[in-house]
């Protein structure tokens, strides 16, 4: 499997594709079953965010190797409306729609690194990473 994979997110069906791609890459990297499931769930949440708030976008999955540690990077990028108040959107339990408000803050809880950049009218990019053996922090 290649080190980088792109999944276009246009509808809810693509969420499943992105999740499965992430799952197989994580497995190949050597993550254990529970971690693979955590990564798949995090991908699910950020992909759904694209489907619900932006019309479309993409998930970029990349294996990381910086010499001493390996991991998986997940980038969720869209050219949607952007998030006016990122701090609020990252509050657990806060949702502007019918959701549980678990999506983005939940994804952050599941991963080791989480970064979100959003600009109104331009779009949102979320970059998150999970390191093998969870020794990132």
């Amino acid at each position: 499997m290649s080190n980088e994979n792109h999944v276009r997110i246009g509808s809810a069906l693509d969420i499943v594709t992105a999740r499965q791609m992430g799952r197989s890459m994580a497995k190949e990297l050597g993550f254990d079953g529970a971690e693979v499931t955590l990564i798949a769930a995090a991908i699910s949440e950020v992909s759904r965010n694209i489907v619900e708030y932006a019309k479309g976008g993409e998930i970029i999955l990349q294996t990381l190797n910086n010499g001493c540690k390996r991991g998986l990077s997940v980038v969720a990028r869209d050219r949607g409306p952007g998030i006016p108040d990122v701090d609020k959107a990252m509050q657990y339990g806060y949702s502007t729609r019918r959701g549980l408000g678990v999506g983005l803050p939940g994804a952050k809880l599941l991963m080791d690194d989480f970064d979100i950049v959003s600009q109104v009218g331009v779009g949102t990019t979320i970059t998150m990473k999970k390191w093998l053996h969870g020794n990132a922090k």
């Binding site: 069906l13 079953g33 699910s44 949440e45």
Partner: protein, 124 residues
Amino acid sequence: MHVPILKQRDYLIASIQSVLSDEDLLQLRDDLSERVGQFRSRGVIIDVTVLDVIDSFATRTLRAIAHMLKLRGADTVIVGIQPDVAFTMVQLGLTLEGIGTALDLEEGLAHLDRQLKRNLHDVK
């Protein structure tokens, strides 16, 4: 992927066969709500053994299904949540509060039998 729904005695058993899209889950919700009326079912088992992830959307939908079916007069029990899936749900702070859960189909049937007996007892 359509979820087959089997009728067994007073119960319906929805056995999820593969990974589901959001639409499939919503379809399952509508199908179950209709079938409960059609078969006058008293209990519903949703077998999620094959689901590799239960994220916030799936949790919200399962909760909605259980609450809708309760309003239609049927108790719901979710069976087969895998250990890794349960672990992830806990990390995400997702709960199925107020919904019956059981280890597998057999335990799920026993759960509904007990629940039905309790409901009958309450009436008396």
